[in-house]
Amino acid sequence: MIATKPILEIRDLVVEYRSEREPVRAVDRVSLDLAAGEFLGIVGESGCGKSTLLFAIARLLAPPAEIASGSIRFRGDDMVTMGDEDLRHIRWQNYSVVMQSAMNALNPVMTIGAQLSDAILAHRRMPQRDVRARSEEVMRLVGIDPVHLKSFPHQLSGGMRQRSMIAMALVFTPELVIMDEPTSALDVVAQRSLMLQIKELQRKIGFAAIFVTHDMSLVSHFSDRLAVMYAGQVMEVGPTQTVFAQPRHPYSSGLLSSFPSIKGERLPLQGIPGTPPELAHPPSGCRFHPRCPKVMPHCKTTEPRFHEREGVQVRCHLFDEGSPRNLGEASDFVGMNADGD
């Protein structure tokens, strides 16, 4: 576990989508910790629940989605049970959010400056002069000329819009910044440049970050810890380097080997056979068992627990004490065809 007290402790979080029939669990008993200043990446396929988890943490869910149970302790207070006023008080000052597409996340009829001052004045009483000073400061921080405070979102380029969103997120130098695929809307070059900037800002200001993406290779270069999600559950979580170098969960292995390395040896391209499950009717036992190359009989019946290996938490029966196949290596996937034999 983490040595110092984590700023974010999520325990057994369950998020459900109400429907006409039974509610669908998009996030199923997820527990995670985040230390101050730590960069946590959450990866997974589309529909694995990572964005839902993110918005649950930010308390931005809207009906029909709702937090069914569990706790999210931020700086010691449980955000799930917090009242609206208290919640509004810590919003933006202590944690902020960066969304995927700035074009959609910025109000098209207000100038960047107006939106910034809205955020500031919602929480502090400040004379206009100071609001303006702080706005200019934070724009310069992300490398945008403060003259653009007078611009409307549609007048800026994609990259500038994204960076203004980040500027807004940092206006109170919060302790936690939650980011939902902020680079997905950009081209590869802009992506890297933005990531470097985010990392630089993190070093300077010292905020903790949760970064959700489907692009494992991108986030692996920048995150301290990496969590792999599948079908609403965390399958593996640990220091990025360790997880990346030796993924233990069969799903993580499969995910990694789907991204061929430019520098490494040439291997046949592997995917993971099958498709992600329907969350309304998840598979019994371990959710990954229908697609797992290392499936064992009791994977179908019993849900696996978390096991620790070298600082990494893995949720897999392979690591049960006395398990016959106790070694999971990426190499096991090589040479397998689509049928899994």
Binding site: L87, R91, A105
Partner: protein, 327 residues
């Protein structure tokens, strides 16, 4: 600024179209009832007035159609519209100008009130989704807006005027009064205008409520509203500045597009209440076959609608910075 230029182009073209309709219709219709009427005028009215009407209605002229057309447009722009049959010897222009303020006052005010109120209510209904407000409103207003304007007018007359005697039966002011600016007169005007205004508001507000509610619901799902919540802004501010400001834009356009229809309904209300505005006069003119007056009123009503549309367009340009850029 191109946006406004295009709107001006539209304004001029529509006006031209209305003029052309006025010009073409009497020539396309079989028979010429206008001729018989004009015979009555000779000797009683200035030659220019007679000539203007002949040109406008296509009677007795030796000129080619094109010449008549140009002369008609010229006459109209100069205000030479002829003399009214039903209000003889008043000139058409005089009658029209007398009726104009009543319509602008009643219909203009009522329509604006309906739009503003309707938009606000629609915004609130969408904001409080799932509540009682949202469940009752749509069906109630669908039903109300299905009633014809004039029927609601009759209904109001029945209940509030005939049965309860709260309001007068019609016209713009007491029949025995003269137009002046005294408080008493103003009071009369308001009393007489209340029921027609109420009718217009009741029948048209439903449409605004529903469309605003629908656009607001779509807007509330947008990311920037989520972002505003994330920033911890006050709910009021989010509702107005983030959701409302954006949701109202398509509504304003819709308002402009439906003004023709709304004004038509309002005219029916004028008629039921015998309110001496452009619409009421138009019906009188039609019934009395006063073609010159009819044409002029049609033109004036169209002009009024166009001005309102232009106004809505300007408002859109003010509220939406994106229109100022786009070509």
């Amino acid at each position: 600024m191109w946006y406004l230029v295009r709107r001006l182009e539209f304004f001029i073209v529509t006006l031209w179209a209305a003029l052309t309709v006025n010009f073409l219709l009497p020539r396309l219709m079989p028979g010429s009832p206008a001729e018989a009427l004009l015979v009555r005028f000779h000797g009683h009215v200035s030659p220019q007035a007679v000539k203007a009407m002949e040109v406008a209605l296509g009677i007795h002229t030796d000129q080619s159609v094109v010449q008549q057309y140009l002369e008609y447009i010229g006459n109209t722009l100069r205000g030479e519209l002829g003399v009214s049959v039903s209000y003889f010897p008043l000139s058409v222009a005089t009658v029209v100008m007398q009726a104009l303020p009543w319509t602008v006052g009643l219909v203009g005010t009522a329509t604006v009130i309906a739009f503003v109120l309707g938009t606000l209510i629609g915004m609130l209904a969408a904001w409080r989704r799932g509540g009682l407000f949202d469940a009752i409103l749509p069906p109630v207003f669908i039903v109300i807006s299905a009633f014809p304007y004039f029927w609601i007018a009759l209904f109001c007359l029945l209940i509030f005027s005939l049965t309860l005697n709260w309001f007068p039966l019609g016209f713009a002011y007491d029949l025995t009064s003269q137009i002046n600016l005294s408080w008493d007169f103003v009071g009369q005007v308001i009393a007489h205008a209340f029921l027609p205004a109420l009718t217009i508001v009741i029948t048209s507000i439903g449409g605004w409520i529903l469309t605003m509610r629908n656009t607001m619901i779509t807007t509330l799902a947008e990311d920037y509203v989520k972002m505003a919540r994330a920033k911890g802004l006050s709910p009021m501010r989010i509702m107005f500045m983030y959701a409302g400001r954006n949701a109202i834009l398509p509504n304003l356009t819709g308002f402009a597009m439906s003004l023709g229809f709304v004004i038509s309904g309002a005219i029916l209300v004028e008629i039921v209440f015998n309110y001496p505005g452009l619409g009421f006069m138009l019906l009188q003119a039609v019934d009395n076959e006063d073609f010159a007056l009819m044409q002029a009123l049609f033109l004036m009503i169209t002009l009024a609608v166009l001005v309102a549309v232009l106004f809505a367009d300007v408002l859109t340009a003010v509220l939406d910075p994106r229109t100022r850029e786009a070509g």
